[in-house]
């Protein structure tokens, strides 16, 4: 569609809306007093559930820390706990940042730039989280027997075969999904930033 045609439609819509007053005083007053309910509840809820599960795992590890008898396992436990705490906290912080409105009076280019930068940061963090998940799963496999009565993993010859296979197959598909899901968004955000900075 050529610009002239767009202009024509735009002006037609203009004329149509000009024939009637849509917003009356009562409606405007109501709108200044009430903001529509937060649309973020759902996404924050899911993130919070994930964060709570991580915190529960950390709490479990803290209460059973005495079962980690050697410095190697203690160190591993601490690193695992840190990862379990830091990842969901950073994720929640980034979501909060993306969803905060900021200065509505600033130039639009500035808002779009912030938007693209925040989006890039969030996508890169999600990709990093997938890598962290691969590391975490190894740590969990190593720590698990210590928390389950000190039985060696070798006691059950099928443990590694099942656990590793299941864990890595899940992560493989999950990471593919993450990369595919964010691939386009990443490209768009990068293009937008290049255009704004160029």
């Amino acid at each position: 569609m050529e610009l002239d045609e767009l202009k024509n439609i735009w002006d037609t819509a203009h004329d149509a809306t000009n024939t009637q007053q849509i917003l009356n005083t009562k409606m405007i007053e109501k709108m200044t007093q009430t903001r529509f309910k937060s649309r973020l509840q759902k996404v924050v809820f899911h993130e919070l559930i994930g964060a709570l599960m991580c915190i529960a795992a950390v709490a479990y590890m803290a209460f059973n820390f005495d079962k980690l008898t050697t410095p190697f396992f203690q160190g591993l436990g601490i690193v695992t706990a840190l990862l379990l705490m830091v990842l969901p906290i950073v994720s929640l912080m980034l979501i909060w940042q993306i969803n905060s409105l900021g200065n509505v009076s600033q130039p639009i280019a500035e808002t779009i730039k912030q938007f693209a930068t925040q989006k890039l940061r969030f996508i890169r963090f999600q990709q990093l989280s997938v890598v962290a998940a691969y590391i975490l799963i190894v740590f969990v496999f190593l720590l698990m027997p210590k928390f389950t009565g000190g039985r060696s993993l070798n006691d059950n010859k099928y443990f590694w075969a099942f656990a590793v296979a299941f864990g890595y197959i899940f992560l493989y598909f999950f990471s593919r999904m993450v990369i595919k899901y964010y691939g386009n968004a990443l490209q768009q955000a990068e293009e937008l930033l290049r255009e704004l900075e160029g």
Partner: protein
């Protein structure tokens, strides 16, 4: 005239602008009504910050477009909204189906543009000068000219592909 009266008058004088922005940045009547409400809410909240360094229309455009862009960021995460006046939801339904159809084609055309281009084209269609567009968007006037040429080219290509 007190602050609220001044504000209500400003909104009434510029309601067409708010409704058009809401129409361009949303896909359905419910989202549009929510966006109109959020724009007016944010305009009221920042009304004190408007110090007439720019014109009222420039400030209104900035706030409305910023809120629309924000809403676009979170639009996939919607849960629920408060009910809105039927009049606002259906204001174009009165013997305007032909206009609505055209408007839908219009929306599809500019949907393919990125956020910045979409804002620029809207301001251009609303008869804003390159200087005014530059002030609202926050880029140089010469950059507005360059972008307009690129947008025209994008639209032409899109038209050919369709």
């Amino acid at each position: 005239m007190d602050k609220k009266e001044t504000f209500i008058k400003a909104i009434k004088d510029n309601e067409r602008l708010i409704l058009k922005i809401a129409s361009v940045y949303t896909n359905n009547a419910d989202d549009k009504a929510d966006l109109v409400q959020e724009i007016i809410y944010q305009l009221w909240k920042s009304f004190d910050a408007f110090k007439q360094q720019s014109s009222l229309s420039t400030w209104l455009y900035r706030v409305a477009l910023n809120v629309a862009i924000y809403q676009l960021k979170v639009s996939k995460k919607r849960v629920e909204t408060i009910p809105m006046d039927e009049q606002l939801l259906n204001y174009q339904d009165e013997d305007t189906s032909a206009i609505e159809q055209k408007w839908e084609i219009f929306r599809q055309q500019i949907e393919a543009l990125n956020l910045l281009d979409k804002a620029i084209i809207m301001l251009y269609l609303d008869n804003k000068s390159h200087d005014e567009i530059a002030e609202i968007v926050g880029i140089s006037t010469s950059n507005v000219g360059t972008k307009m040429l690129r947008i025209k080219e994008k639209l032409r290509k899109q038209h050919k592909n369709n």
